[in-house]
Symmetry: C2
Subunit: 113 residues, 2 copies
């Protein structure tokens, strides 16, 4: 496989533009194989504001990595779950996590702050 040295055509950069954000890998991982409501996600990830969470969810939906389902019952609710494509990212995320754990655990504590 050959890479072209231009980020706009680079497949790694392309993947990064999806999972490279601050919250997307965390959101994907939190959802996992469950079907979660907005509020539940907000609880699981307390550091995210609901504006940002809402934006990220919309982007993930546009990328067809998650599915948004509205239930118009007496008290209406919304649930999010991974699509096939989204599920296929999970093992990749785990590998990234592993690499980070084995290769960088201490080295980065300060760098990341």
């Amino acid at each position: 496989m050959r890479y072209i040295a231009n980020p706009y055509q680079c497949p790694v950069t392309r993947t990064m533009s999806i999972i490279g954000g601050k919250w997307k890998p965390i959101i994907l991982n939190c959802i996992g194989d469950k079907s979660l409501r907005f509020g539940k996600l907000n609880q699981l990830i307390p550091a995210i504001s609901n504006k940002v969470l809402s934006g990220e969810l919309k982007e993930l939906e546009d990328l067809a990595l998650i599915e948004r389902r509205e239930f118009n019952e007496l008290l209406p609710r919304v649930e999010y779950r991974l699509t096939k494509s989204g599920q296929s990212l999970i093992p990749l995320l785990h590998e990234l996590a592993n690499w980070g754990n084995t290769n960088l655990a201490k080295k980065l504590e300060n760098a990341i702050k």
Copy 2:
């Protein structure tokens, strides 16, 4: 494996902070198993400015992903190559590229611009 829903402690985010930049995966991939000079890298990646290239190389060196070797010969030169740790990233980059190619090829052409 359990993730804590906070990017500063998230191992995926940790890894991302290294390869998640615009140029780092490209640089790592360009070096590959070779030993490249600054100027050569600049040629291979024409879209990067030498200020940014210089900065990225410094960061990659700080992270011990590449090695910088100065040769103080008649015309002094500098060569960069991957460390063991840097080499261990290459397969991961390939997987990211693969995922991007199979799952997103078209979907993102516009999104990324």
